[in-house]
Point group: C2
Chain length 432, copies 2
């Protein structure tokens, strides 16, 4: 079942869709050539926004959760992609340790997270690995068997660190897959593991990663992709500006942010004019780090900034990010619908729509993939065969073709994440 979406099916996005369908061989070749030079992140989920006139990623999660929301149809694709990934990283692998996020409370709101772990364990078991689920939560002192809603059980085991290796009791993994973005910082227990593959690398974790660094890479990649495709890369790219080291409690800092927001709004306004877009543009201001303590704030006018009640803005110097707001024009049952595309290795393996029941179309840009209480999920059966691109169908008329476009933009974000991780790798060799 493909969700029936009230999508703005006219205008430039149809042109973009048509261009992508016509250029499928060129696009796939472009990705192949990128992957000759760069290594894709092990797994990734890209949240997209379809504004009707542009389509852009608003969050690229390198520790994706919610795998259980993918439809059953997609599982074989995920398994096959996992086999390909394992084969490249460590063909000799027997054992995989899946490192869960901390603070799992089976009695509370995290049963969804347990279902996610079960799905990941299933995928990697099918791909031919022995899988254990480990926790670095200090409250997990012994192996706990957790019963899941579906009648299945999950074992959560405390990790054991030796001088050189991380494992759990009687289980020595060759690869450790983090499903924990370590928001409180990188704990020593996962550092300096030189004998095992730790994926994603620690410099992708929340306390280290910067949104602006990703967007910088994304801009570079989107420009090259746009040139290959013969399109304005703005159609898939949100403008942004990094505003590092400001104290939101200082008037001068607020003025600097307001000036930057004003400049960004002017840039967006020019683009809207160029494309004949009648809407009023907005920008979003938020913390540059995923672990920031500042909620997202949408502005249509920079002057709102000085008067605004800054949600959760603590004092002290922090890094801010200004980003062009991309409105959400997709609707399902009157809720705003954001497509989220799941990838493993270089492959699109599935996706779903995240619905925000009470959300305005300007809100929460760049909120990324953090679960929100009001969000619900509808599987997007990307993988179903009738949803492979249909070369004959008119642009905008075919959900599968629209999904192909989503998969392409998500993979552009995947390439960007690969650039980003190379650029921020503390162990990278520098050739000067």
């Amino acid at each position: 079942m493909v969700p029936h979406l009230i999508t703005a099916l006219g205008g430039p996005l149809n042109e973009l869709e048509q261009r992508m369908l016509d250029s499928m061989p060129a696009i796939e070749r472009w990705f192949r050539l990128e992957w000759m030079e760069h290594t894709p992140p092990f797994y990734c989920a890209a949240a997209l926004r379809n504004a009707g006139f542009k389509l852009a990623p608003v969050g690229t999660d390198l520790y994706p959760q919610n795998w259980h929301h993918l439809s059953d149809d997609m599982l074989p694709l995920a398994v096959q992609a996992a086999m390909a990934a394992i084969e490249k990283i460590c063909p000799e692998a027997r054992n995989l340790l899946l490192l869960a996020q901390s603070r799992i409370d089976a009695g509370g709101g995290s049963t969804a997270y347990l279902d996610n772990l079960l799905q990941l364990r299933r995928i990697f078991h099918m791909a031919g690995l022995n899988v254990r689920i480990g926790s670095i939560d200090p409250r997990v002192q012994e192996t706990a068997t957790v019963a899941l809603s579906g009648g299945q059980t999950l074992e959560l085991t405390p990790v054991i660190r030796s001088q050189q290796r991380l494992g759990v009791k009687d289980f020595d993994p060759c690869t450790i897959l983090l499903n924990n973005d370590l928001p409180a910082g990188v704990p020593g227990i996962v550092e300096e593991l030189y004998e095992q593959y730790l994926l994603p690398p620690l410099h992708a974790s929340a306390s280290v990663r910067r949104n602006s660094r990703h967007l910088h890479s994304y801009e570079e990649v989107a420009k090259r992709f746009g040139k290959m495709l013969g399109i304005d890369h703005w159609l898939i790219h949100p403008f942004f500006a990094a505003c590092p080291a400001l104290d939101a409690h200082q008037a001068q800092a607020r003025e600097e942010l307001a000036a930057q927001a004003d400049a960004l709004l002017a840039k967006v306004r020019r683009k809207y004019k160029e494309y004949g877009i009648k809407e009023r543009p907005f920008v979003v201001i938020k913390s540059d780090g995923a672990a920031g303590n500042f909620g997202a704030l949408a502005l249509r006018d920079a002057r709102e900034l000085s008067a605004a009640a800054w949600p959760g803005a603590a004092g002290g110097v922090q890094d801010f990010l200004l980003q062009e707001g991309v409105p959400t024009h997709e609707r399902l049952h009157e809720a705003a619908a954001e497509p989220v595309v799941y990838m493993m290795d270089r492959y699109v393996v599935g996706g779903f729509y995240r619905l925000h029941a009470a959300q305005h179309n300007i809100g929460n840009a760049g909120e990324g993939l953090a679960a929100s209480a009001s969000a619900s999920y509808v599987p997007l059966a990307f993988a179903h065969s009738t949803q492979l691109p249909q070369p004959g169908a008119a642009a905008g008329a075919s959900a599968p073709n629209r999904f192909y476009m989503y998969g392409v933009v998500a993979r552009v974000a995947l390439v960007a994440a690969s650039y980003e991780l190379e650029a921020t790798d503390p162990d990278a060799e520098v050739y000067d």
Copy 2:
């Protein structure tokens, strides 16, 4: 829909199935290590026989047809596997020439073959290649547009050979994929193409390939696989004996064949006794080459040989093959059902049951995948998620688990085909 099959669900095969499920990580790792050292054939279809007490491949086709019989659910898996294959062979690829079998007659019985070509074109187009379908049939003098039953059309184009390259008008491929096993011998037009990838290699074609060479490789691989799994490799391997250079019209040659058949029957009888199998064993005698002119003949007693009417046995010296007959114990609507497993690169991407309405359970062993007028096809939705292995289910009780076993044995045959092609490569470098 999984076809309901009346399969003998008791006895040793259940043990084999259970062993394979329990050893899934070891099995997948074994395949990963094999593929580190060996290159899988580009694509392959393995026909299997489930005798209830053993499961063995009876034909490994390196130019598989009938892709259109795979269920739609499997198509995304085939596309993903094709992407992986292309990426390894020629990431820079833009153009693929699919070389069709000769003697396509759209008005006759080959509309099924045209549907097969359409499906292959679809898979490789989705994987990101420009695809043309070429013919080396001298009767194809200009591009013909053929209408298919589903309302789609297919263009069949005569190939053009330059000094160094093969292509079609205005289309220069980097890879040429043969879907034609060249039964009449390798024509000069496809020889000495050093600038393009020609897949599968010409030494895999029908006039060159020998069943006995494949079975020899299969025996070697099955032994190693059986050792890893801790099973008697006979459970997945049919005994065989090559009988080269005999003239079936000569009494002495027939006596030699009879003696070999007698020895083979004795070997099989000992195995039957060891496993308490009550049936009467049989052997099959046939041409060793796929292009042989001698139909398969099943014997329960070597003495039948001298009296038998040798179907289609022409005079002159030829190579024969004796093979242990594997009875078919799977039934669907009272027809004998043989699972056929389709692979691309190293991945199982689908399969179907080939049904023989009027077939005895001893007939046609090793007939391979040649279409027969009485054969019909039922898709085996290997790829459907609910048909991934179900770790909890009892052996024999779960169709998905049975299909996992089929996929494993088919991949053992795939590894064997890889060994075979390495051993028979005329351009291989020999290190002494």
